[in-house]
C-alpha cells in the first residue's frame, strides 16, 4: 500500500532548463518561425496541387476525388511478389471500406482543403500547435498507406512544433491569439469576459493583494476562476490550489459586472 502511495502520489516532474529554453522560451521564436514556415509552405504546396490546376482532386467536371481513389486502390493492392504497401490489415480494411463506399468523392475535399488550411495556419502562426497536430495526423495516415516521400521529415517537424506550441506562433498571430483565448487551465481575456460571473475572488488567494479583473493572471479550479495579483502568486496557487483556496475561504461566484 505504501509502495502504491509512493508511486502514484501527486508529484510534478519539471522539465530541465534546456528543454524549457527550447520549447517554452521566446528567444528561439525566429527558429520556430522558419520551421513553421517550411512546414506550412510544404502543406500549402501539396494542397495547391489538389485544389488548383489540371490535376486537381476537387471541383472537376466529373466525379470528385478520382485521383484519391487511384491512390487508395494502389495502396490496398496486395502484390503477388514482395510486400504490400500497407502493413496493417486494419488500415487496409479501412481504406477498402472507403473505396467501396465511394467516400473518396467527399474525402478528397477534406484532404485538399485540410492541407491548404493547415498550410495557411502554420504560415500566419494561428493555432500553430493544432495546425501542426492536424498536419502530423495527415502525415501519419500517408505513411500508414505506404507513402514515405517527405512525410517522415514533415511528421518530425510537426511533432517539434507541437511540443513548442506555446512559442511556435510567437512571430505570428498566436502572439495575440493565445493570450486572448487562453487555455482551459488559464483562461484568457476573451474567455474571462465570457466567464466573468464565475470569478471567485476579489483579492489574491496567496497574498491577499487586490486583483485586477481584466489583467491579473487567472487559474481555473473546480469550475471557477481565481485571479492572482502577480505571476509568482499564480505559480504558487497552481502548485497548491487546495491550500490557498481553502485558506481563502469558500469560493462564491460574484455577480457579473454590467
Amino acid at each position: 500500500m505504501a509502495l502504491l502511495q509512493r508511486t502514484f502520489e501527486k508529484r510534478e516532474l519539471r522539465d530541465p532548463g534546456l528543454i524549457r529554453a527550447i520549447f517554452s522560451n521566446t528567444w528561439l521564436a525566429p527558429l520556430w518561425l522558419v520551421a513553421r514556415l517550411y512546414l506550412g509552405y510544404q502543406w500549402l504546396l501539396a494542397g495547391s496541387h489538389k485544389v488548383w490546376g489540371e490535376g486537381r482532386w476537387i471541383a472537376v467536371s466529373g466525379q470528385d476525388g478520382l485521383p484519391l481513389r487511384s491512390y487508395w486502390e494502389r495502396a490496398i493492392a496486395i502484390p503477388e511478389q514482395g510486400r504490400p504497401a500497407i502493413s496493417y490489415d486494419w488500415y487496409r480494411d479501412f481504406l477498402t471500406f472507403m473505396v467501396n463506399h465511394e467516400w473518396y468523392s467527399w474525402f478528397s475535399w477534406v484532404i485538399a482543403l485540410g492541407e491548404v488550411t493547415v498550410g495557411i495556419l502554420l504560415i500566419v502562426g494561428a493555432f500553430a500547435g493544432l495546425a501542426a497536430l492536424a498536419g502530423a495526423f495527415l502525415n501519419f495516415n500517408f505513411m500508414l498507406a505506404g507513402s514515405a516521400s517527405i512525410n517522415p521529415v514533415l511528421f518530425v517537424i510537426a511533432l517539434l512544433i507541437l511540443f513548442g506550441w506555446k512559442v511556435a506562433g510567437w512571430i505570428g498571430v498566436d502572439r495575440w491569439l493565445l493570450p486572448a483565448l487562453g487555455t482551459p487551465w488559464q483562461p484568457g481575456r476573451v474567455f474571462r469576459r465570457v466567464l466573468k460571473g464565475r470569478v471567485a475572488n476579489e483579492a489574491c488567494p496567496v497574498c491577499q493583494m487586490p486583483v485586477d479583473r481584466a489583467r491579473s493572471p487567472a487559474s481555473a479550479y473546480n469550475g471557477l476562476i481565481y485571479l492572482s495579483c502577480c505571476p509568482v502568486c499564480k505559480e504558487r496557487l497552481d502548485e497548491q490550489p487546495a491550500r490557498y483556496i481553502a485558506g481563502f475561504g469558500p469560493a462564491i461566484p460574484v455577480p457579473a459586472e454590467g
Binding site: L33, V34, L37, Y38, G40, Y41, L44, L45, S48, W52, V116, G119, I120, I123, V124, G125, A126, I171, G172, V173, R175, W176
Partner: protein, 66 residues
C-alpha cells in the same frame, strides 16, 4: 476608435500575409522553392512588425509611455 483602427490594421496585415502566401504558392512553379519561401517569410515578418508597432503598441498603451 484608435483601438478599433489598430485592431483592424493588425488583422488586415495578417490576412494580407495569408493571401500573399496563397497567391505565391498557387501561381508560381516549384522549380525554385527558395524563391517562393523568401517572399512568404518577408510578408510574415512584415505582418508581425505591423502587429507589434501598431496593434500591440496601441493596446498596451506603450505609445503613451505607460
Amino acid at each position: 476608435m484608435n483601438k478599433v483602427l489598430a485592431l483592424v490594421t493588425g488583422v488586415a496585415a495578417w490576412a494580407a500575409a495569408a493571401v500573399v502566401a496563397v497567391l505565391i504558392v498557387f501561381n508560381m512553379g516549384v522549380k525554385n522553392q527558395v524563391l517562393m519561401f523568401l517572399p512568404i517569410l518577408a510578408v510574415v515578418v512584415a505582418a508581425w512588425i505591423i502587429g507589434e508597432l501598431v496593434t500591440e503598441r496601441v493596446f498596451t498603451g506603450r505609445e503613451k509611455g505607460v
